[in-house]
Symmetry: D2
Subunit: 338 residues, 4 copies
């Protein structure tokens, strides 16, 4: 880290800072400039309880230098991680596509959707059984019955099942049915849940929280990696900004930014990222062009009747069109869908 001293900071203040740093077990380098004095500390600052330095007299600001994440970093593992779960391959030039309804509603709905999306080229089936809902008055999912229906749909189609787990105590149950555990955006910093999925050996799809920085996303991934589970997919699903014409703002530059810094594959969710069915196809194509390793998309046979998230859900024909465009764009950037 770099400690920037105030313009008029006294020598005593500077010495106090230097001693404080030494007591933290770090090595300070004092650089006296024409306008400011700075103290550079270039050891491993991550473990240090260093934020309090800012309150010392004469300190103007403290700038971190090291990225706070480690195991997720390309510096630790240069080679890209490819996550595989049955039919689903994400990374290494393969763009895995996970499609299905927001909520599992009935056997007919999930099996029909699974067949249709598989035929269109999807390699994973999404579907919520445990639904975290903003309002306690909204449909909360079919729970274990929903998991059973997902398993039937897998049986019928061969698609890998991707479904959300919302609490540590559900990990074992959901893990019996799912091929991939999804950690939702609202739970990105639910550390007990991250630790619980980190103890399994099931691949995890970790969604970015809508107010989370990319560094916070990587630190959340570290909780899972730290448990010994290395099959983590990061998922960009949009952030909260002042824009209201879309449900969230989908910042695709996170895809190449992340890929340059982490070996973990990056999936994009253009459904939540936009909130409107009409925007899903162009943003799915844009995600592939930006280099995404995977897509997760909401599809329902009759979106107007979906129990949740209807406005952002493609119908079967719309999903087929989306896949056609994405296949061509993937080829254009040297990748392959599915």
């Amino acid at each position: 880290m770099i400690i920037v001293m105030e313009a008029g900071a006294s020598t005593a203040a500077l010495e106090h800072v230097v001693r404080h740093i030494e007591r933290l077990g770090l090595r300070p380098h004092v650089i006296v400039g024409t306008e400011r004095t700075v103290v550079a500390v270039v050891g491993d600052e991550r473990g240090a309880a260093s934020s309090g330095l800012e309150t010392l007299p004469g300190v103007a600001s403290v700038l971190p230098i090291l990225a706070p994440y480690k195991v997720a970093s390309r510096e630790v593992r240069a080679e890209a991680t490819v996550v595989q779960a049955g039919s689903l391959v994400v990374g290494g030039g393969r763009v895995g596509v996970i499609a299905g309804p927001c909520s599992v509603e009935s056997r007919d709905q999930i099996v029909e959707t699974a067949r249709a999306v598989r035929d269109a080229g999807a390699t994973g089936l999404r579907g919520g059984a445990f639904k975290p809902r903003t309002s306690p008055y909204s449909f909360q999912g079919l729970k274990e019955q929903g998991l059973e229906l997902l398993a039937e749909a897998r049986e019928a189609t061969g698609l890998a099942v991707v479904t959300e787990v919302v609490a540590p105590e559900d990990v074992a149950l959901v893990g019996r049915y799912a091929d991939v555990l999804q950690v939702g955006a609202r739970n990105m910093q639910n550390y007990r849940l991250l630790e619980a999925v980190g103890r399994t050996r099931l691949p995890v799809l970790l969604k970015r929280g809508p107010a989370a920085t990319v560094e916070e996303l990587l630190l959340a991934a570290e909780y899972i990696l730290d448990g010994g589970n290395h099959a983590v997919m990061l998922c960009e699903r949009g952030i909260r900004t002042f824009e209201t014409h879309t449900r969230f703002t989908l910042p695709l530059a996170t895809v190449p930014w992340l890929q340059a810094r982490t070996h973990l594959p990056v999936v994009v969710d253009p459904s939540h990222g936009t909130g409107h069915a009409a925007l899903v196809e162009p943003m799915a194509a844009a995600s592939v062009a930006a280099g995404a390793d995977g897509l997760i998309v909401e599809v329902h046979p009759d979106p107007a009747k979906a129990a949740s998230d209807g406005a952002q859900t493609l119908d079967i024909a719309g999903f087929r069109r989306m896949m056609d465009v994405c296949r061509r764009v993937a080829a254009a950037v040297g990748r392959e869908i599915g």
Copy 2:
């Protein structure tokens, strides 16, 4: 809700929308204007899975009318809720002040801080035993030992203990020691946790998530109220915006906005809301002037050595000065500190 049709929408499209609404059990009112046709639906739209309406042909947009929360609303209960927990009173003209360190670190630290903040006028003691930390490499708290130390500090000072609970399975344990259960910003939409604290009869301090709208905060409160626990305090602690000179942006207009719509008291956290000790006093004073029912503030005998959040932590003298100013401002707006 109001369904706005596209400018060129066909009669068939309009009829389709009308029938769809009727099938949802709601009553549509069609209003044909010079430029647009709108369909007004004025029954209780909360339960309806209505978002999918937007995907129907000819529909331009769907605008909700009713606020999605109920039990938290002034419409259900006009009179302000006053939350009391031992020495701590929040609401009804009393501005409760909860002060203490970010983390419980040792017996000396917590007892010394408790005595000092009580002497300065605080009526609640904060201190983290279970710490949700962005990085798995940061100090995670003393856990049950921290709870025991908090109980000792209560014993020594009479202050009500406010401490965070991070997972449903910890609620019973934390509840044995705490007077108020804090749900942190990262867990505002951890619904299992909300349900768990909703089943207790301990007062809850519910912090706003940094990307949560005020409506989402009220809906999170509904999860707790829905469980029968009516002693809920809402806490504004800052939101994520483009500003970086403060850790978060603290939007105090939420205080009067919330108070006009909910009977629940509103507490402000100027420590997390700013991230810098030098900004805590003016923002605490501003919170009281804006009508806050309570404050929660980080105080440590030696902030530069705090195990976490040092940069935003007041020392004892700073807290005393803050309390002096807040007392005078409270009197100016017809309220009383403590």
Copy 3:
């Protein structure tokens, strides 16, 4: 607009609202629901000074229905506008690419860059002669000399010149040299400037302000269209959000959203939108995949020595690679670069 009454609003309050609307020359429709009464007003609300309605007793909120823009709207002109300026064609399946340095620095620099970007497939040349700079201590551009150098570069290459105009009094001067007038993001709501470029018949590239909603962008375009100048290109160049790993957040979903609502073509600026050269190529490709009608990209023979914006500037080889990828992606989505 829809006026939503408070739950307990009196009949007198409702009648007051109704009379107020009638005095504005509009027709109110009162709809009494089980929980709320709403008043729908479906005439042209744009001219009405209606915001004050919200302060009337008993009014909970006022929701607009009509989009506030007119001439830019697809409802007024269904067919997409194609903007042409010499070699540059934007829209109608052609993706125009405008490339060049942030600032014009010297004859060699601009002519060399112009030749290189033309050879790589660009059809427009960008280059700032009048530079609006955040700091008064930064390089402010070569001014008229810069315009002359741009004209020389056009002479040498045939590329259309796109350059920024920062004040109404400069429009005539800049218009003598430029093929396209650029209105920068900081000036998106400089109405005098919009009116001044609206009085010319030169094509205008209007950049979105970093805090502007898409509706505000369209309303800014209306100022230009209202002056009789119909050759307006909208430019998405990123918005201010909490993200700091990119200079701005580039929300590509605005491309299809705008194209569905306006006939004006939409250009994307992946240089300002990301702030880092390494992110320009993937975001340029993503823009084309999302359906952008044009790109504007910063290119310099030696970015490390650029007088401004070096961090986000491609070198010649990088621009060539970007064009190769964009050409293939354009073909994949049925469009053509250049």
Copy 4:
């Protein structure tokens, strides 16, 4: 600035960076750490075209150290600037209050309002004659006639006139009538306008743009100060965030933050900052408690009939109540209103 090298950067890359810095006339200090090498540059980096450094091979990031503003800084002038314009005093313990309608509409309206706000304790009169409006179809102000009416209102009340100037070519005209020139939020980075008001010797009220950082606000002030005009008031009027229940988010922590770094006084606009009349009084009181040197507030005899901004406008009685509260809060924090 600090140049952080990538983990695996070669010695050649490091040497290239060092030479590049030397060529910029700056002195590099290389610090080799266990995980990273950084190059500290502690001379005056402001003039250097240094952003391009980031594109050099092996460079991970470039962190600035010096604040980019100078003349506005407390380091250049430690003593607080007090701005005086006739009856209006802003700073030095005096909280100046500027009140009046959004737009000047008629002689009766402006004179009646001026008398009422003066009687309630305001020392400045606001009123827009040139109105920058988001839509070309909205009321654009009475222009010079409005200025004449403002002068009449000053005649009748003795209040200093504060009114907006929207273009450099209007500065002379507006300057003949106004006591304070207001630069609106949309024009905060209209540099020609800043230069033009910088050449006058009239006090300037400079509003923060809704996407501007506090550093950008200070740099905009530098344009005015650089022209020799030192009577600059900064105005916080709210920023664009994801919140929609208020028109903007009003971040009062900017008040003490700015006051610690600049000698210029800081005014708050709780009308635009909230957008709702009901929130103006609490946020005005909060502003005073946070240490604001002034307030600017919209007041109209009949807000429901105001030509613009009615929803956020206080009526006379509401303004009187606001002033009563603010007077008491000012006394509580050792300041005086008016």
